[in-house]
């Protein structure tokens, strides 16, 4: 198992190829930590937020910063995409596939949602079933050909187009110090300096301000309750390692402090762990008011205030992190 599907898949592929690296290091070097709030988009039926960078970006950043090479493939034809996978798997090359989570039959039906950005690793084939290592499941799973094909070739927003990749080469030497610094700098830029009002710390503030408007989008109280409780799912359950990736990033900073001999990063990792505890309080608060259908304006304002408080502390945190690394 791993905390997150993309960082977990990358970590296991790198480990299999001989590079010893932890999931927090992969997450941190690839500048995984992020925040974005989407109040009205055509792709989502309800306001939502993200707590990580764009799907696929972790792999690209890891390639760039560690010098690792991956072989990547996309396909217009499902037949060609499945045939290529069938050609690679017998060579004992674990291959990561991007899929729509909804079509994975081994996922309990109540957990299935249409998200085109799930990553899992195909490690074998037995008859008509593929053998799957999925970061969100503690045991090896099986998936029939039809379901895998549907998942790999689902249309819509961020359509996977059969995307798959596997490790090609690992360099002899890796400059971890440079990779860690670049990863942190980019994360600080993403959280503090993107000039778009719904991204980074500005996005957290927009979330805090707009959450009181959520009842306008809901069909009824049960729908609003469901969406408010999804705040907990997005921060805790949907593969974040807890507190919307803040705990795994704190772990990255602790490991990075040792590797690049910067004790300030250890202090900052402790600060981020405490910031993460605050995000967790938001998760629990959202779950509680959702369960109790206690969703009046006063409670939503209280929720907004708690979120706004995270924006303030994260702005200070990332400014200090940026100074520490420069």
């Amino acid at each position: 198992m791993a905390a997150h599907c993309e960082s977990g898949t990358l970590t296991s592929l790198l480990n299999y190829a001989g590079l010893e690296i932890s999931e927090p290091l992969v997450f941190g070097i690839s500048s995984g930590i992020f925040f974005g709030y989407f109040h009205k988009t055509k792709a989502f039926s309800f306001p939502t937020f993200i707590v990580r960078n764009k799907p696929g970006q972790m792999r690209k950043n890891i390639e760039k910063r560690l010098g690792v090479k991956f072989s990547t493939y996309t396909f217009n034809s499902p037949d060609k995409g499945m045939a290529k996978l069938d050609e690679i798997i017998p060579q004992n090359i674990p291959t990561a596939c991007q899929v729509d989570f909804f079509y994975l039959d081994y996922v309990p039906s109540w957990e299935r949602v249409h998200i085109n950005a799930h990553f899992m690793t195909v490690i074998g084939k037995e008859g008509n079933n593929y053998v799957i290592s999925d970061a969100y499941f503690p045991t090896i799973m099986q998936l029939d050909t039809g379901s895998l094909e549907k998942g790999r070739f689902a249309g819509g927003n961020m359509s996977p187009k059969g995307f798959m990749f596997h490790c090609k080469t690992i360099p002899q030497t890796i400059d971890f110090e440079s990779a860690i610094k670049k990863g942190i700098k980019k994360a600080c830029f993403n959280m503090l300096s993107i000039p778009i009002p719904f991204l980074g710390v500005k996005g957290i503030r927009m979330f805090a301000k707009k959450v009181v408007e959520w009842p306008e989008f809901a069909r009824d109280t049960e729908h609003l309750s469901h969406e408010i409780m999804k705040i907990n799912i997005l921060l805790e359950d949907q593969g974040t390692g807890g507190a919307g990736f803040r705990f795994i990033y704190a772990t990255f900073l602790q490991q990075a402090a040792e590797i690049i001999h910067k004790p300030q990063l250890k202090d900052l990792s402790q600060q981020l762990m405490i910031i993460g505890d605050g995000w967790r309080e938001i998760s629990l608060f959202a779950a509680r008011i959702g369960k109790n259908r206690d969703l009046g304006q006063e409670k939503l304002r209280q929720l907004g205030d708690m979120i706004h408080d995270r924006a303030d502390v994260e702005e200070d945190f990332f400014k200090n992190l940026s100074k520490a690394i420069n």
Partner: protein
Amino acid sequence: MKEKDGFIDYPDQQIILYVEKEDGQYGPIQTGSYLSANFMNDFLHKRKNLEAGLRGQLIAGKISPVRFYMVMEDLTLQELSARSGIRQSRIKKHLDPVSFGKVTADELNHYASVFNIPAANLLQVTLIFTNDEFQSNVILENKAKNISVTQSATQNPYVVLTKIEERK
């Protein structure tokens, strides 16, 4: 977060949580989902209510089958269009129960593929009598104790094989 505060006993949904261990090092633990452990019944209750409400509207002719599955699967018009390859203007018509009559068999198959159901289920509602009431087979957890209903594809793209059998 301290390790002792992170552990949740819920084997049905395991997650990885990063915590502070006793020696001050941060690292992963495998634990249960807090939300599932404490609020699963509420989550399923809301899902069943949503399905029952939509089914009532479907049977009363107030919404079309496309609208039913679109809401159940939380898809927007744009997403459904991009996934099915059917124009948004055409889907809008199919959301209306009367205009749904103009849907073609080919379009039914496109919708069914996105919704991951047999096309035939866009034209019928199957209920299973369990726990003293009829419940929809859209919610897979609604399994009757002594009856099993399975549907599988056939070589004919428009025909689904539905098997109803006694559980032994």
